[in-house]
Symmetry: C2
Subunit: 306 residues, 2 copies
Amino acid sequence: MDRNKKVLITGANGFTGRHACQFFADCGYDVTGMVRSLPSKRSDVKLIYGDLGCQQRIEEVIKEIKPELILHLAGLNNVGESWVVPDECISTNVMGTVHLLEAVRNSCPEAKMIVVGSMLQEQPEEIPANPYSLSKTIQFQVSKAWEHLYEMNILFVKPTNLIGPGPANGICSILAQKIVQMESGKQSGTISLDSLDASRDFLDVRDAVKAFAILAELGQKGHVYELGTGVKRPLREVIEELRQLSVIEFEVNEQKPQKRTMTHVSGYSTLQDLNNLGWEPSISLQTSLRDILEYHRRRKGENMDE
Amino acid sequence: MDRNKKVLITGANGFTGRHACQFFADCGYDVTGMVRSLPSKRSDVKLIYGDLGCQQRIEEVIKEIKPELILHLAGLNNVGESWVVPDECISTNVMGTVHLLEAVRNSCPEAKMIVVGSMLQEQPEEIPANPYSLSKTIQFQVSKAWEHLYEMNILFVKPTNLIGPGPANGICSILAQKIVQMESGKQSGTISLDSLDASRDFLDVRDAVKAFAILAELGQKGHVYELGTGVKRPLREVIEELRQLSVIEFEVNEQKPQKRTMTHVSGYSTLQDLNNLGWEPSISLQTSLRDILEYHRRRKGENMDE
């Protein structure tokens, strides 16, 4: 690993972005995180302002940093909101990526770029389940087109549901927040869920960023790497783990799944490829959930101090 | 046919748009043409200013017109330029369409919308031949997604190479311009071509706009209508027709086809559907080419008068 390699991580203030910045910096990379707004509180990495919607600014950032590796994590990822403002979702996830691809093509065409999609995205010929999923499908299509038409060094990752401590908006984080709220009120309560039997492949974000670092060195141009544990777990199991980790009792109210909130997940086909590069998940679901609860308890405590 | 039906035609200053405006107006529709810049010389239809890149303006136009039918023809269609500024091509053809879809969804969700793609576009799972083709493929994907996810009344047309009098940028128009230039100098010359054997399905634009009008009344939501003659003709045939229609002699210099200028055309699969609705092409290749030559001769004459 070239420890002075210049790495630009987009979406550096996001859930995955924060973990990625920290891990790549710990590995010795020269990391710059691109963010839409500059926070005052971070000291783990250099941050640079850049909104993917502003092509000119993205060009400036790439010219200034001249990264050798770009880890592209930025984007809107809220499925619910994507139904309401699908244009913003397409604009940010598709045009934002196009702006980045063009800036790299113009100013550092030799750079390696890792585009991070989602296991929720469909194959391009399928009808998308929601506008978010459409935007991620098209994000891959345009990136693949640039990789192919302009012969750029781009590779692709499709992570499953990433969980772990931090500002996530996934189901585990939402459940943990509700439980922490009940804990702080020291009273029991009820959690409503669509279906306890809905099952997903949950992967700890800290395992995911290790995979990104392996791909930064060993990932092959043009390849799509699926990233998951390979095991789907029903929400029932998540709930039971959380029940054991929590200091309060709670009821679960199971509702019927709604069509719009159902997520279509394609089967894995290249999951083995990352294992072949030496990666495997190392953090158990229990550990992830414990750390998520701890994160929200700390945050609750900090907010109450304010 | 409801003769007072309000029709908005985007790209009204374009090659196909001009013919569409005239034909729909002649049919008795209440036509408004949307254009990026307002010309001073037209009196055939009402024109309204609207740049697809400006979401706010598109919203205003749709609110003001409240069209019952939208014929969406606007977009960038220059394959060569799309290699140089692929971001503009994606932005105009994809985000422009998204802006239009959102404006229709917000202000006249019952309207029928005809999205006009191209036979040059690939199936979404294929690697695109060029950025233009990618942009048209994605334009269809987003429109299909809106049709499906928001249950909008959208249908699709994939026309083959449209030819005819007017400001086209296709091969027939380019050849005619060269010949008219030679004619005006009253001297012979040489025309360079990639390959005389490259064959395409040429359809007169005046036949195409008749198909649009049939689809305006009879087209089915969600359906993709292929639009062509069904017969591919080699450029050799176009050259021979032009030779007979021209008053000068010219040589043809055949070059090897280049990878980047080759166009991938998927085979037809739904061509019959428009015939089943009563449409068939009526203008011969000879007539189209004669009218194209006449158009460029007139334009040459007008330019020389200035």
